[in-house]
Symmetry: C3
Subunit: 323 residues, 3 copies
């Protein structure tokens, strides 16, 4: 794709010649004359000054750090345009799915319904009555239990586990070795209590590698549509993650915790059972949520509280202690 | 099972007609006329008022929130009775094990001893000299190394790893993608030190999905009988977890850490190497244990200390800073 | 090996008869007359007094706690000598690799290059154009994506995942169910942004069980040579871990975080995106690094700061609050 066409697709202002052919994106330091690079964080200015990229996507404020001969694609929201450029120039996933059809070394129950256009790799198991949608990709070693459902175009990376009766929505992504529907941590004097609910992953939701979403004890554990969970996240039984919520790496939700729509939890934050993180709230990394948090606020600490009030208090305490 | 019979099995007082036939448990909102539901947390009162359940298990204090025509099963410890009811009405696990026998696509060493009543799924590996007990269930993709032992009726969910010479006791449960017996994190100037000990999981102990228990460097790492570890828990080399101890999600025990019998660690708590959490002690979520904690106490913070003293100090500091 | 020869190999002073034959190491409490044990931590004095070991490796200060008839191997750095002894007496790994060659139940693409001396277990997948070096060991269920590279003598334990185009260096060790090269957590309004970079693991580096290293968004995520990552560690896209760095269990690095050479992060510590932990810095367990940390320092807390200054302030605050 020529630079001029790319600028047009990104709604960016073209500064410099637009006839070079772009075949891929690259980092500022690695780019060559076939590459688009990007500069939207000031800390990469030094790399920008040396770049050999054919063109660089950047902001009005940062454009001057580029070599004078480099073509610029300038837009106020260069970060968003970068995502668009990545999708345009790299339409195929970097991790290649198995080819369509069922690999001869997969183990598919006779009563499972696998769409002919689904991609099922070797060493995959699909249990009785499970349903696999069109263009779904089950990489090698994926386990789909009895009665489980994988929606159309959903992707399960190598060794992901989807246990019986649980569901993954259309276009969802499940990382390698993630586990959906494991029996949760409900204990009584006789040990683990039976867990008869399900775990349901919404459309376009994504789960990182090694992330675990337990099934509900009674009723379901739900990860809403367009929610994004990073790697090694723990979601306890009957927790609810709202649509569009974001859980960064190693976040933990206890059984029955609630994260409402579009809330964002920083890495290693935790939410206690029954606590509700309100819609759109932002919780700092490593915070511990023990009570309901109001929608839209910003919170930090353990127990998590209003971030500004906490920082003010910490500053006062620092003055008291460091005279 | 009729409601009256159920009440009797649960040692609950029957209030209302006892002749309805119960086939399953369900949540208050999802239940129909064939269901038993439960109300033992006040926050579900509103749902209780609308329930269509045939009968509801509840406490004397909460019974009045139910529709007047709903049959009640009343007991002071409704939570415990709920576990009993779940086991009575749902005796089969929600996650179906493979059928008895060895799947033709399993890979079992000729010198392994697999009980004829064991259940071995596809893509399972069982190494030389390993022993698998009666009615043990090895789901698809489980790895059992040379000389490892799986006790009778133990269950290993899909993709669990039990490395060479390690043991899982009778009736234990190992979650999907859990790893037992990985070489631990003993480092010296030449890199990782050989780890020649074992990891031993006790009878009726349970490990959640993705949980890791390293083998001992010299001597064994031990998880005691009836201990319960949630998902994504890390147990370092030569750590010891006592009988009946409870480790919530994402807890981490460094090499050589000790958690004595019946102690409870909240989610994301950590214990340093050599520190001892005394029997029956309770440690709050996200705490960091750096020193021995006395049996039976309640602790929080990093470094973990007596919870009451810490809360008192934090309250005083808050007053100092927020005048 | 005779005790005298062993003392010589360990550069330890022999005190007592040196003719006993040593066949293995063992813990003080488990050792018999064929064993070498060690005493270099004072807390094991009581066990030492009762040991039946043929010989004990110890320090000048602790030797007096041993039975008078026990042969001692005395050296100032008994801990380091213990690692040497373990490697001498236990040259073969406690976890047995598959035999050389490709197991008939492995699934190897016709265009992959697998060295004839590589060890490839059952249910392994090796994708198109991947390269597996001499004496590399791929345990059962390992996934190697298209174009990925495994260096000579590298070991991947059961169910480890190495996704397309990613690389593991010579002599590296990858724990069971670890995931290398999963698409990272780069989000924009349209969901996850394509992740087209790679993840590169250096020579002799080690990754624990369940550890995740995401591929770079553009450019690579890099774990340097001789770096050691414990279990359940999360390394985000484009993070860089320097040579010889040590990341203890459950550490989390956000996308773009940097840990320079030989830095050490305690368990459950986290580093924010773009923050740099300087070379040789030490960060306490559970700390949260939000800003650059100077090389060689010791840091703790959230946000992480100079450890000594923080402890001083906490002590002053304690005096203020606990009068």
């Amino acid at each position: 794709m020529r630079v001029a066409a790319l600028a047009s697709r990104l709604a960016a202002r073209l500064e410099g010649p637009g006839d070079a052919e772009i075949t891929r994106v690259a980092g500022l330091a690695d780019a060559d004359a076939t590459c688009l690079a990007a500069l939207f964080e000031p800390r990469f200015r030094a790399q920008a000054a040396q770049t050999a990229a054919a063109a660089v996507l950047t902001t009005p404020a940062l454009a001057r750090h580029l070599p004078p001969t480099t073509t610029r694609l300038v837009t106020d929201d260069a970060r968003a345009a970068w995502g668009v450029a990545l999708r345009l120039l790299h339409p195929r996933p970097a991790v290649a799915p198995p080819p369509p059809g069922v690999h001869p070394l997969a183990c598919v129950d006779a009563t499972a319904e696998v769409h002919p256009a689904a991609r099922v790799g070797p060493f995959v198991v699909i249990g009785a009555g499970a349903r696999i949608g069109a263009d779904a990709a089950l990489f090698a070693g994926v386990y789909v239990g009895a009665g489980a459902v994988v929606g159309p175009r959903a992707t399960l990376h190598p060794g992901a586990t989807l246990l019986d009766a649980c569901e993954v929505g259309a276009d969802a992504f499940i990382g390698s070795r993630a586990v959906i529907g494991s029996p949760g941590f409900g204990l009584d004097a006789a040990g683990r209590v039976p867990q008869i609910g399900r775990a349901l992953i919404g459309e376009r939701a994504t789960l990182g590698a090694g992330t675990c979403v337990d099934r509900g004890t009674v009723g379901d554990t739900v990860v809403g549509a367009d929610a994004h969970l990073d790697n090694l996240v723990q979601v306890g039984h009957n927790a609810r993650v709202g649509a569009g919520a974001v859980l960064c790496g190693q976040v933990g939700l206890a059984g029955g915790a609630v994260v409402e729509a579009a809330a964002v939890l920083g890495g290693q934050a935790g939410v206690a059972g029954g606590a509700v993180v309100g819609a759109g709230a932002r919780v700092a990394a490593q915070s511990g949520v023990t009570r309901d948090l109001t929608p839209g606020g910003t919170f930090s600490g353990h127990p998590a509280e209003d971030n500004r009030a906490r920082l003010r208090r910490l500053a006062r305490l620092k003055r008291l202690a460091d005279p």
